[in-house]
């Protein structure tokens, strides 16, 4: 029987979408030969989030609710995950490939001497009942298919926006089991002292459904206002090309591409971005790509679903108007 543990992640008081995606993936896998999907909820005063996890497909929720767990701790969280994984004899442990998941996944895998596959875009069971994951490598220039070679404790992080969520079942009520941390916090060798909000952006880039990105074609930092206005109208996150970041127009946290973030939104709108290989590496798995650029030879058009060859300073203001009109209708 496939037993899957999904480690829940929250943003403020809400379960992150990527956790629901992981639950969706877990469901798809476990339904094949009958299995169990559990979620582990860690934090302080997070019990209310169990309903979201139930509705999202968790049959059981392990709840570690403790003021000491309010802030992330690699060691304490990993110990908890490993304890629960052992307790339920988990075959598979799923996390989002977020800052937390990317840190926690390898830590848990090493604790459990398990297999680890990071930032996966595909996950399936093969005929022998082994998990086979696909993951982009070389900045997305190649795809590796890897097989986990053991029966338990396989740790996989999933790229956000790739796996479909489970159809919500609002009436579902998962069994809740409280678990306690065994970590002696006074002995922790690394402690999160504080969390500084750096980006006031309303939507996080890696998890956004729609992204509007600006590049060199914006010509000056103040012109990013235009990108932000369009993003606001769409409820989208703002991204930037490396050229724009290197020029100092936006901080690195906005950068999409090889040395920045990898995103897979439903819609990616590239404004004044030529679409060098290194940029494509970060966004080519977007579902729909729109390119706005005045150079018809820009490589971005080769991967865009829809392209407009024109000056972005003409296009974007009109686009903002059109989007507002559509939203109002």
């Amino acid at each position: 029987m496939t037993k899957i543990l999904v480690v829940s992640e929250r943003h403020e008081a809400k379960v992150k979408r990527v956790t629901l995606e992981a639950l969706g993936a877990a469901h798809a896998l476990s339904s094949k030969e009958g299995g169990q999907v559990a979620a582990l909820l860690i934090g302080n005063e997070v019990a209310s989030q169990a309903d979201t996890l139930s509705a999202g497909g968790a049959q059981k929720v392990y709840l570690a609710d403790d003021p000491k767990l309010a802030l992330y701790s690699s060691e304490a969280y990993a110990t908890l995950v490993a304890d629960v994984a052992k307790k339920m004899d988990a075959t598979l442990i799923l996390l989002g490939a977020t800052a937390m998941g990317k840190d926690l996944g390898p830590k848990v895998a090493a604790k459990l001497e398990g297999a680890f596959a990071g930032d996966c875009t595909g996950l399936a069971l093969n005929d022998e009942g082994a998990f086979v994951a696909t993951r982009p490598i070389y900045g997305g220039k190649a795809i590796a298919t890897v097989k986990c070679q053991q029966a338990q404790f396989q740790v996989v992080t999933l790229r956000p926006n790739v796996f479909p969520v489970h159809p919500p079942a609002p009436s579902a009520k998962a069994e809740i089991e409280k678990v306690t941390t065994t970590t002696d916090f006074s002995l922790l060798k690394a402690i999160v002292k504080e969390v500084l909000t750096v980006v006031a952006s309303k939507v996080e880039l890696t998890e956004a459904q729609i992204i509007v990105s600006g590049g060199r074609g914006l010509k000056a930092p103040e012109n990013f206002k235009l990108i932000e206005e369009l993003a606001d109208a769409l409820g989208a996150a703002v991204g930037a090309s490396r050229a724009a970041v290197d020029a100092g127009w936006k901080p690195h946290s906005y950068q999409v591409g090889l040395t920045g973030k990898t995103v897979s939104p439903l819609l990616y709108i590239a404004c004044g971005i030529s679409g060098a290989i290194q940029h494509q590496a970060g966004m080519s798995s977007s579902k729909y790509i729109v390119a706005i650029n005045n150079d018809p030879n820009a490589p971005i058009f080769k991967i865009a679903n829809y392209g407009i060859v024109a000056d972005l300073f003409d296009v974007v203001p009109l686009l903002i108007e059109e989007v507002k009109k559509l939203k109002a209708a």
Partner: protein
């Protein structure tokens, strides 16, 4: 302060990547290799700390074939003091945890206060090895740091790590492991005197036997993750270019996004 930086030699960022004929590797003909760019941030941070304290040793460590010595030599030319090259044919087929076991064994032989890694290698994009090593050695770690400061007493360090929309400020007791993200610093260039001196600096070569490890511990048979195949990513087809005057093109775009793609 004794500082180690674990580095990896990888194909240069702009390399064209395609699967090899057997589908179990990439086609390596004509590739040029560099020090993994994220590891360079680690080397730079180590050198900065050494300069700031005006004492200490910076050791660069890599696992890799004969050719990987070039990457070590580059780090020596940039300013590292010594290098350790771990090479053994028995390592072929191992996974990230195997790599971590080897590095953990090597790091144990030195008495390091600080250990830096890149946040990930740009070839396998895994980002797991540094964190694995921390767990194996029972050391604290902070992953993906873009700011680092050593406390005055030299016993703790405070690092910032980028998380979604925010930065976590983490204090870690040394010895500790840090994996480095862009923005941490501006890696320096190798200098000419550095290049000329690189060959004279100590270069230790270790096999698995030197680390009291065997193929069963860290080779293909120990791997929990096995590479099945490497393929090219699906090719995206160019879609339509919307012609006509700008106002018309924009309203057509919005119509397509709404009705055809159904994303608005």
């Amino acid at each position: 302060m004794n500082i180690a930086v674990c580095i990896k030699q990888v194909p240069a960022t702009e390399s064209k990547i395609k699967p090899a004929a057997d589908g179990l590797d990439i086609d390596r003909t004509g590739l040029s290799y560099v020090v993994n760019p994220y590891d360079e941030f680690g080397v730079e941070e180590a050198l900065k700390i050494k300069e700031q304290l005006d004492t200490g040793t910076v050791t660069v460590i890599t696992i890799g074939p004969e050719k990987a010595v070039e990457a070590l030599r580059t780090c020596l030319a940039v300013g590292a003091d010594e290098a350790i090259h771990i090479k053994d044919d028995a390592l072929t087929g191992g996974d990230a945890l195997c790599t971590a076991r080897v590095l953990a064994a090597a790091l144990k032989k030195g008495n390091y206060d600080l250990i830096f890694f890149g946040r990930q290698a740009i070839d396998d994009d895994s980002g797991a090895v540094g964190i694995h090593v921390a767990e194996l050695l029972g050391l604290p770690h902070v992953a993906g740091i873009n700011k680092f400061e050593l406390n005055a007493d030299g016993l703790k360090a405070v690092a910032h790590r980028q998380i979604e929309g925010a930065a976590e400020v983490v204090e870690a007791r040394l010895p500790a492991i840090f994996t480095c993200q862009k923005e941490l610093n501006e890696p320096r260039y190798a200098s000419l005197p550095g290049i000329m001196k690189a060959k004279q600096k100590p270069m230790t070569v270790w096999s698995l036997a030197d680390l009291d490890l065997s193929a069963e511990d860290v080779g293909a048979s120990a791997a929990k993750v096995k590479l099945e195949k490497i393929t090219s990513p699906p090719v995206r087809e160019a879609g339509k270019t919307i012609d006509g005057d700008t106002a018309h093109a924009v309203s057509e775009l919005v119509r397509l996004l709404h009705e055809e793609a159904k994303v608005l």
